[in-house]
């Protein structure tokens, strides 16, 4: 029997996109498990090839989005997520998960702060893929659409850093237009290994044609949306690696 890659979704009080993200992962071929943070230890992380921090409002976004989740992860498992990545694992942070990964130092330096409008933004956006070989994005076209829903999505970084991220291929995704004041329109970041991706848009909300706001929109011949392609990309990468593992 073919072994499916396993994805572990860490759930905090206030995480609310875990169920649909789990469904999206399974649709793409993963087996998945939602694990409350209270049950997470270093051993539990070892069962997965992909760890996902899904969207929502962990700890009510108290203090600032992602901060209390960061502290709780550090308190429970220390730098185990870094070790997981260094050991060959993949990490995906969506929206609040992106904010948490940034705070944990798993992505290039910077922070996601209040949108310049001071308002929560819920809409579809057009995105530009700026890297060719990222395992999460390789199956996507250069331009595609996804929905966003956030109040704290404006990426800021130390002086000059955002330009460097653009030049060095760490700014994996940018918005086609300025939607929230993000520096260089950055919508998603990857780390230098390419094994960690954080993005503000919600790929789990665009799996099929019918999710698109335009009911006449047609994606590929299977009727899949851009979000599905993202999950399928990382699934194919991990499946390929597993096929070459001994035993």
């Amino acid at each position: 029997m073919e072994k499916r890659p396993h994805a572990l979704l860490l759930k905090f009080p206030g995480t609310n996109c875990d169920a649909e993200t789990s469904r999206a992962l399974e649709e793409a071929g993963f087996s998945s498990e939602i694990l409350p943070i209270a049950c997470v230890d270093e051993k539990s992380l070892g069962s997965a090839q992909l760890i996902v921090l899904s969207g929502g409002f962990s700890y009510g976004d108290y203090v600032m989005a992602g901060r209390l989740a960061q502290l709780e992860i550090e308190r429970r498992v220390g730098d185990a997520l870094m070790k997981f990545r260094d050991g060959g694992g993949y990490l995906l942070g969506i929206c609040n998960g992106f904010q948490i990964l940034t705070k944990l130092g798993l992505l290039p330096e910077g922070s996601l702060i209040n949108n310049t409008s001071g308002r929560f933004i819920c809409r579809w956006v057009r995105l530009e893929r700026r890297v060719d070989d990222n395992p999460f994005l390789s199956g996507l076209p250069d331009n595609f659409e996804l929905p966003i829903a956030h109040a704290e999505g404006r990426f800021v970084a130390p002086d000059g850093a955002a330009d460097k991220y653009m030049d060095e291929g760490l700014a994996a995704l940018v918005y086609s237009e300025d939607v929230n004041g993000s520096t260089n329109r950055i919508a998603g970041l990857t780390d230098r290994s390419g094994r960690v991706l954080g993005l503000m848009p919600h790929p789990e909300r665009f799996l099929w044609d019918s999710h698109h706001y335009d009911q006449d929109w047609r994606g590929d011949s299977d009727g899949k949306g851009s979000g599905y392609q993202m999950f399928k990309s990382i699934h194919n990468t991990i499946s390929g690696e597993m096929a070459h593992e001994p035993g």
């Binding site: 108290y62 209390l68 502290l71 709780e72 308190r75 910077g110 001071g118």
Partner: protein, 153 residues
């Protein structure tokens, strides 16, 4: 027992239109700026307490923090401080206290969280409208301080 007050202000945020704070348009232009204040009573080392504030409550890239007790902003008309009533369930405070477990060097005796709104306008604007539309008497306590540092409400 020692006390520190930390006022945290977003580096990248600027004054916004104060109409965002109220339900009906204001008659004259006014701007506002939000900050948050953590008042910490603790036992132990001051440096450790400050480290806790910086590590847990301040964003390295996006925030500035002031421990002086003086307003972090100048040239305001007045400011409103509001927070949860004593005894009300304050989940944010509980989450912060929970995150402190295991931190060495000091212990927290009490923590008070205050949201501060600075208003910038001409004297014809009073605090009443803002207090009515921002504060909820069922759960909040509040005070208003004028530009001379006098508590006026």
């Amino acid at each position: 027992m020692e006390k520190i007050s930390a006022e945290v202000i977003g580096k990248f945020e600027s004054e916004g239109d104060a109409n965002k704070l109220v339900y009906a348009p204001l008659s004259v232009p006014a701007k506002y700026r939000r900050t948050r204040i953590y008042m910490l009573e603790y036992e132990g080392d001051l440096g450790s307490a400050k480290d806790f504030v910086k590590r847990s409550l301040v964003d390295d890239y996006a925030d500035d923090v002031f421990f002086t007790g003086e307003p972090a902003v100048e040239d305001f008309s007045f400011y409103i401080d509001y927070g949860m009533k004593p005894g009300a369930l304050d989940l944010e405070k509980e989450a912060i206290l929970s995150s402190h477990k295991g931190t060495e060097g000091f212990s927290i005796v009490a923590l008070e969280l205050v949201q501060r709104i600075y208003i910038f306008s001409d004297p014809s604007i009073t605090s009443d409208r803002f207090v009515r539309d921002v504060c909820n008497p069922a759960i909040h306590v509040w005070s208003v301080t004028d530009s001379n540092g006098r508590k006026v409400a």
